[in-house]
Symmetry: C2
Subunit: 180 residues, 2 copies
């Protein structure tokens, strides 16, 4: 799975081959060919692995506010490796428009992150840090901003991250925290 991660950062999805992943794999290459017939078989397992890693990270995260969630997932600068990886994820994600097995994985990851956002918004409202907003609509707006910034960053030369993050910070301050 880590070899797949490295191969995706280097090659992206379109140019990815099982051979490219095997080249990053320190153990037996024949083992890889034995387990996976196609690139898709391997990538579906990779998405399952990634989802478990994200679940573990979220479980270990002691923060329960929206601000730190946004800091983690929508930083102003991504860094080269994370940027390459996100571009590859956008390519893989587009497969979900026509392939049900991919769609099922991206539906689960959307549920996971959206669920965490709903919980954090409700917790913030309960402790009086946020105004009495609708948790579902707020979480969906934030999920769409996060995914849209990723899509625009990966597929255009537009200067997306800093401005979008400025917009989100204003949204969180005015709509959630009720600042003027």
């Amino acid at each position: 799975m880590e070899a797949t991660y490295r191969a995706l950062c280097t090659h992206g999805y379109a140019d990815l081959t099982i051979q490219a992943i095997a080249d990053e794999f320190e153990k037996s290459k024949s083992l890889l060919y034995y387990h996976y017939e196609t690139k898709d078989d391997l990538l579906l397992d990779f998405l399952d692995w990634l989802l478990e890693r994200w679940k573990d990270e979220l479980r270990e995260d002691e923060a329960d506010d929206v601000e730190s969630f946004v800091d983690g997932i929508l930083p102003r600068e991504l860094g080269e490796e994370r940027e390459e990886f996100r571009a590859a994820i956008v390519e893989i994600r587009a497969q979900a428009a026509s392939k049900p097995a991919y769609r099922e994985r991206f539906t689960r990851s959307d549920d996971l992150f959206r669920g965490v956002l709903v919980e954090r918004i409700e917790a913030g409202v309960d402790r009086g840090a946020y105004r009495d907003v609708a948790p579902e609509a707020t979480a969906d707006l934030l999920m769409s901003v996060i995914d849209g910034a990723m899509l625009r960053r990966a597929t255009t030369d537009a200067d997306v991250m800093g401005n979008t993050r400025d917009g989100v910070d204003v949204y969180v301050a005015r709509v959630l925290r009720g600042e003027q």
Copy 2:
């Protein structure tokens, strides 16, 4: 170009072939094969045509507020044809992560729509309809929400449109119009 539109709605990008477009084409099919060697050649021309159509539509649009822009581009229900077409566009857009010719087209369309939003925000601030917000950050947040809702709708089973639109309406009311 209209044959390409219909073929994309029916087949999506992954299963699209020049033959499928030719099947939708009323005129000489050999003409199509004469002009385009590959699916990519044809789709790049299609994206240019689409961009000109969008420019014309925006030029003819007499509205100059953010609310009607959002109504047009992020309705609560898309309808089957528009939904199929947007799913195909998400697949085509993912090509821009690795292919410069696609990237150039999606950068131009991002510039176009973002530019219209910046103008409308500035116009609203000038006539006192909106608070004195930062036009760039506001436009980028809205562009990311719109593209993210499209990506999530096309690649997950999540119920995206209604909730995201509720979130955007609250954003426009509280952040732009300054309502409480």
